[in-house]
């Protein structure tokens, strides 16, 4: 530690012409999502890209921007889905209120897991988050009377949603896509607000040099906890979207394999980039679709491709592209 910091590690680079275009990254991302169903081979795939994109976006806040490699994000993805399904199916809560409630409760869960796991650092943090998320999995498995146990949660279907007095047929894939896209847009805007705030600068400072951030007077521990909760909140919104989309919640969603898939997606797309999570989710899901057409053992190829990415393309598809255009360096 070399004396008092001048704070240049926290300063954002001055916005150039290119930077100004990227100031509209929320609008650009939403525009891409709006035409996504017509870019991809099926509407179902587009909905999945939307859902997993939001989940991975929440995770990217933690891993990409703060540098915390959690292996337990499935807990919040699953919590969002389960809380939504239980609120609608068991307590008859209207769908929109159910989503809000589910995100709130999932954020509380994130606070609980965050309090324990952010006490640890580095690789330890990865192991602890994995173990605590597995705890959530086993709790859901044991509490079968509420969660449906191994069979997953059933018995709630949202077929019509009313939007500002307008009745929308939710079973129509295109309608469904755009209703869910509204949630994704909200999450994108929210994430952009976080990253552009002073808090966003603090978490990136923690990623770059934790001790220095602490020496600058930032409360590193509390910042980590807050970012853990925000990340859980956004990922749980993805879970809510999944519950609305599928009308069931499979137990697998809570398994650590799902956490691993989220990690794979963020690396495939490119951690630390704003739109990378959607690119990652899309490439993973397309890969899965294509390979499973000709072999049931698609996981072996996904694993191999992931290993190759870690070895040779650690910035992912989108991150490498941005680097190629010289954007990534200007603005992570």
């Amino acid at each position: 530690m070399t004396g008092p910091s001048s704070g240049e590690a926290l300063a954002k680079p001055a916005a150039s012409g290119l930077g100004r275009v990227l100031d509209h990254r929320v609008l650009l991302s939403i525009a891409v999502l709006a035409i996504l169903p017509w870019l991809l081979p099926s509407k179902a795939l587009a909905v999945n890209v939307l859902i997993y994109g939001v989940v991975v976006m929440g995770y990217n806040l933690l891993f990409g921007y703060t540098g915390l490699l959690s292996f337990g994000q499935a807990a919040f993805f699953g919590a969002g889905a389960y809380f939504t399904g239980i609120a609608i199916g068991r307590y008859g809560v209207p769908w929109f209120a159910a989503v809000a409630l589910a995100v709130l409760l999932s954020t509380c869960l994130a606070a609980l897991i965050g309090v324990i796991s952010t006490r640890t650092r580095g690789i330890y943090f990865s192991m602890v988050t994995l173990a605590l998320a597995q705890l959530v999995y086993y709790v859901a498995l044991q509490a079968a009377s509420i969660t449906g146990g191994e069979n997953g949660l059933r018995g709630f279907t949202v077929d019509r949603v009313s939007l500002f007095g307008l009745q929308v047929n939710f079973l129509d894939p295109v309608n469904k896509y755009y209703v869910l896209m509204a949630f994704a847009a909200l999450a994108l805007w929210f994430q952009s607000r976080i990253l552009n705030s002073p808090f966003g600068a603090v978490i990136e400072a923690i990623r770059e040099n934790e001790q220095r951030a602490r020496a600058c007077g930032y409360d590193v521990e509390r910042s980590k906890l807050v970012v853990f909760m925000l990340s859980g909140a956004i990922s749980s919104l993805g879970g809510c979207m999944l519950a609305l989309h599928l009308s069931i919640v499979p137990l697998d969603i809570l398994h650590y394999q799902t956490s691993g898939m989220i990690v794979m997606m963020v690396l495939l797309g490119g951690a630390r980039s704003f739109f990378g999570p959607f690119v990652g989710a899309a490439s993973f899901l397309i890969l899965e679709d294509v390979i499973s057409l000709w072999t049931p053992h698609w996981q072996i190829f996904v694993g191999a491709i992931f290993v190759l990415f870690v070895l040779f393309l650690p910035k992912g598809i989108w991150g490498t592209l941005l680097d190629g255009f010289g954007i990534g360096k200007a603005r992570p």
């Binding site: 324990i116 173990a131 691993g260 990690v263 870690v310």
Partner: protein, 291 residues
């Protein structure tokens, strides 16, 4: 509930813990020496069980399986270190973790292709079938054998690390690899051997667990979480920690199973949470590196 039942359950817990100790030990040694968390550890445990089963049926004897599977899988582990892990030294600590995670996908799916997705029963060796009268109750011979074998392996490992020249090099290499290189030790070879040893221990855990659990491609995922919990409680990189925490977890699981069976899978996570709240670095962990 009478006393002998509780003592028998305690012994069961120790047997369960012994397998956990062996498995977690492989994880913790590799971390302590190489700074690598091997996410494929659970998958290699599972492959160890399959290799043990296959070799036992090939040679017609459980003992050959028990001896050869850890050696064979250990050599396979050295191959992994040489081809994949070695490229990542000096890069971010997250990279080996991510790489081995991808590797676990390949290994699990590979086993599914070769042996199918269904579980296979692992027969208990004929010499160890049945129970032994301990005076206060009857205890399965096989579990007693597991306890004794793990104790012997631990003793050999401890003597090697503490009393031999090889152990000296390994311990010194963990502290300061650069100085060891200056002294003329090929530290790359030490790391290769350590990774092989860690993977071999995972495989040994797998073979030992075979007759106690059903053998299937997914068995590694639960074991990975268990091994993580044990190393986190004991303190990453600490061998004593792995032994104490492994036994603690094994005994808690079987004791809770006696009184509240539905809580058995959850108790170890609760134990971990409590330990972390009091000592974030684990019971025998070094503060600063991890917490």
């Amino acid at each position: 509930m009478d006393l002998s039942l509780i003592i028998m359950q305690l012994l069961s817990g120790i047997a369960l813990g012994a397998v956990l100790v062996i498995t977690a030990l492989g994880l913790t040694i590799v971390f302590g020496m190489l700074g690598v968390v091997n996410f494929a550890h659970g998958a290699l445990f599972m492959i160890g069980a399959y290799a043990g089963l296959y070799l036992a049926s090939l040679t017609g004897s459980f003992w050959w399986g028990l001896l050869l599977a850890p050696i064979l899988i250990g050599v396979f582990g050295m191959l992994i270190e040489f081809v994949l892990i070695r490229r990542l030294y000096g890069r971010s600590i997250d990279d080996p973790l991510l790489l081995t995670f991808g590797l676990s996908y390949i290994l699990v799916e590979g086993v599914r292709i070769v042996f199918g997705s269904d579980g296979i029963p692992f027969p208990t060796p004929p010499q160890l079938i049945g129970v032994l009268d301990l005076g206060i109750g009857f205890f399965p011979r096989y579990r007693l054998f597991v306890i004794v074998l793990v104790a012997v392996v631990l003793l050999v490992l401890w003597l090697t690390l503490e009393k031999t020249r090889v152990g000296l090099i390994v311990r010194a290499g963990a502290r300061d690899p650069t100085i060891m290189q200056v002294l003329g030790v090929d530290i790359g070879r030490v790391w290769l051997a350590i990774f092989g040893l860690g993977v071999g221990l995972a495989a040994l855990g797998g073979v030992l667990a075979g007759p106690m659990r059903s053998v299937n491609p997914e068995m590694g995922s639960l074991v990975l979480a268990e091994a993580f919990v044990v190393t986190v409680i004991g303190g990453l990189g600490s061998i004593v920690g792995a032994v104490v925490a492994g036994l603690m977890v094994g005994i808690s699981i079987s004791m809770v199973a006696l009184f509240a069976p539905e809580m058995a899978t959850i108790v170890m996570f609760a134990l971990m949470a409590v330990v972390l709240l009091i000592r974030p670095q684990g019971l025998f962990g070094v503060r600063g590196r991890t917490a």
